[in-house]
């Protein structure tokens, strides 16, 4: 019995050696993903799996942190212990990263902040790749400016989860444009948690508190669907000949509704980021100097029949090309 056990153990040890030896040829990339809370996030995860393949010379370990900040910190420390070649962080929240970023730096591992932002000194990480949420908010604001062409408007805002960089950035960008327009009035702003149910509940309340409004700005597509449900129930018309709905994310389902003329303007937040991250990693590997921030380009879309210099008018082709 003991002999068999010893044999099995020996085999296991040998195979472990073999596995490590094999893995050495590939670049070990650790990615701490935020979670799997939306279609957008799942498209982002899939994109990483598609790009960082063994064939391309990478061994990707993608950890889904399920929106748990503490878990994310712990997983990053795990990566450090296991001595990964590169660590990619998509931070769940902006604050609270200084210590762990310092630990990565001390371990001499290059660290890339992807998608969202951290509230830490840029000396603490190698480089950042991401979309510019503030620019997205600004695009939405500028489109509204163009569409209203000087008309007064009463605006309701359904925000994303309080404290997330998407909610902060999009609000900041939109408010920047709104500040130039005394004829715009932001009636109220409430957190809809980035969910359809949240959007419904917030909009049900808005309709009762503010019988008169013109524009609803939703911080993501799911909130916009919820707002539409609530307006349907109250018999309020929206779209080309009704209330103006502005949304962000531009997922396939969201763009379907833009094409149908329901969501008048939908500003994209591009989840297809893995290629850009890979290019950055390859550049770092080759010893090249990389920029501190690489922007993932975003686009905006508006409903058919609206001419715009700021965003693209939706067509069937755009929708067909959308994968997520």
């Amino acid at each position: 019995m003991k002999k068999i056990l010893a044999l099995v153990l020996a085999l296991v040890m040998v195979s472990c050696l073999f596995v490590t030896a094999h893995a050495d040829e590939l670049l070990k990339i650790g990615y701490v993903q935020v979670g799997h809370e939306s279609d957008w996030r799942m498209a982002n995860t899939q994109n990483y799996y598609d790009v960082f393949t063994k064939e391309a010379g990478f061994e990707l370990e993608l950890i889904d942190c399920d929106n748990d900040h503490a878990r994310q910190l712990q997983e990053v420390r795990n990566f450090i212990t296991k001595d990964f070649d590169y660590i990619v962080i998509d931070p769940i929240q902006e604050a609270g990263w200084d210590d762990v970023l310092k630990e990565i730096q001390d371990a001499g591992i290059p660290c890339i902040i992807a998608d969202r932002a951290v509230a830490a000194s840029s000396d603490l990480y190698t480089t950042a790749v991401g979309t510019n949420m503030t620019a997205e908010g600004e695009t939405a604001g500028l489109w509204l400016e163009e569409y209203l062409a000087g008309k007064a408007a009463k605006i309701l805002v359904i925000e994303g989860s309080t404290g997330s960089s998407a909610a902060i950035g999009r609000a900041e960008g939109f408010n920047k444009v709104a500040a130039n327009h005394p004829e715009w009035e932001i009636l109220a702003s409430q957190d809809g948690d980035f969910t359809q149910n949240g959007g419904q509940a917030v909009m049900e309340d808005f309709i009762k508190r503010f019988p008169e409004f013109d524009v609803v700005v939703c911080h993501n597509d799911n909130e916009a669907y919820g707002a539409m449900d609530a307006m349907d129930a109250a018999g309020i018309k929206y779209g080309v000949d009704g209330k103006i709905i502005i949304s962000f994310d531009a997922t396939k389902e969201g763009l379907t509704r833009t094409l149908a003329g329901k969501i008048l303007c939908n500003v994209e937040c591009n989840p297809i980021q893995a290629v850009i991250v890979m290019n950055v990693i390859n550049a770092l590997k080759a010893g090249e100097q990389v920029e501190k921030f690489t922007l993932v380009p975003d686009e905006g879309f508006c409903a058919p029949g609206i001419e715009s210099a700021i965003v693209t008018t939706m067509t069937d082709e755009v929708l067909a090309a959308r994968k997520y």
Binding site: H36, Q190, Q200, A201, E204, K208, A233, A234
Partner: protein, 363 residues
């Protein structure tokens, strides 16, 4: 004057007095707010007929509180019989919704846009969702009743696994069923009422009838107070506990279908999120002991709507959602403290003191 005092004394002794008083307290906050704002002071209570359905804040409370009320029914039985809570109900809701949508759309399909794309009739999907929730209830009940595992530990399994299984079923995608027939459960109307309120009413009525015309209620309380004594008295304690968990599971399934239909998609990560806590709180607010034994179903249901009334009030007051839990906690603390045995004992003591003084004064 004396008669009013007597009347108040009489009704304050009723078991439902405190739960009802709590709702009243929450509603008064709205009247005060409207008065301060210079609105029509009863604007919170106004009804309208919009799109052929009743419309207003009170309707919102009844509508949005439906899931919690349905869960509270099952939770009351579980708490009463086993002296523990079923913390899996929120995840089970999500599992039921995910299975339903997966069956309707077919595995791996993310959108159903027309009736011809449905893989099976909607009612089959809904029944399957409710059935799987019943199976989970059976599993939980087996662990608690037969294996004698603590309820919280036993139900922790599906608390963690429920959503994950849901995600597996939906292939990690949100599955949209964009059909009015499917939206009916959550967004539709029945006569002039939102369908969820009608479904909640049916669930409540069913349980009331069962409790009224069978001795289940008595058995459940008896098992909750002392399972061994009940067994000696000829009640199959394990079977009663098992039955309570199955009922709790089935009701969670119904709530799950309603919640899924509300957003006409299987959003495994968010459906029923934290609702188990609301259901447990509802049972506690209803004046039930979480230690099991005697229960008061009406109290739990009123408790569930009280929680929703607080949420709706927070919206009406324009409190930012991030801060709302603080105010919610304050209100809950007040309600729970008022109902606590210590406070009740204090008032009983004062009353006894007064009476003895009165007697002493007379002699």
């Amino acid at each position: 004057m004396k008669s009013v005092k007597d009347w108040f004394k009489k009704i304050s002794k009723k078991p439902l007095f405190l739960p009802l008083f709590s709702v009243f307290l929450v509603l008064v906050i709205n009247v005060i707010y409207d008065a301060v704002q210079g609105n029509y002071i009863f604007s919170f209570f106004t009804f309208e007929l919009k799109e052929g359905a009743l419309y207003g804040r009170i309707v919102d409370i009844l509508n949005r509180g439906s899931e919690a009320a349905i869960l509270a029914i099952g939770m009351t039985l579980v708490v009463s019989s086993s002296g523990g809570t079923d913390i899996s109900v929120g995840s089970v809701m999500s599992l039921a919704g995910s299975l339903c949508c997966m069956l309707l759309a077919g595995f791996g399909v993310t959108h159903v846009r027309g009736p011809e794309e449905l893989q099976m009739p909607i009612w089959v999907g809904a029944v399957a969702g409710i059935a799987i929730a019943g199976v989970v209830g059976l599993f939980n009940g087996f662990l608690v009743a037969r294996m004698k595992i603590q309820p919280m530990v036993a139900t922790l399994i599906f608390f963690t696994a429920g959503r994950a299984i849901g995600l597996l079923l939906t292939n990690n995608k949100m599955v949209y069923i964009l059909l009015d027939e499917f939206k009916w459960f959550g967004l539709g109307k029945t006569w002039i009422l939102p369908t969820p309120t009608v479904i909640a009413a049916i669930c409540i009525a069913l349980m009331v009838l069962v409790l009224r015309f069978t001795s289940l209620g008595m058995y459940v309380q008896s098992v909750g107070i002392n399972p061994r004594a009940s067994r000696i008295a000829g009640i199959n304690s394990a079977a009663i506990i098992l039955l309570c968990y199955i009922i709790c599971g089935l009701y969670a399934g119904v709530a799950g279908i309603v919640a899924t239909s509300r957003i006409y998609s299987a959003d495994s990560n968010n459906i029923g999120l934290n609702l188990e806590l609301d259901a447990i709180l509802a049972v506690a607010l209803g004046g039930n002991s979480l230690g099991g034994g005697r229960f008061n179903l009406a109290g739990s249901i009123i408790g569930a709507y009280t929680i929703q009334a607080i949420t709706t009030t927070m919206y009406a007051l324009g409190v930012a959602k991030a801060q709302a839990p603080v105010y919610k906690a304050i209100i809950v603390i007040l309600i729970v403290v008022v109902q606590s045995p210590a406070v009740k004992a204090y008032f009983a003591h004062r009353k006894a003191q007064k009476e003895s003084l009165a007697i002493a004064g007379r002699s």
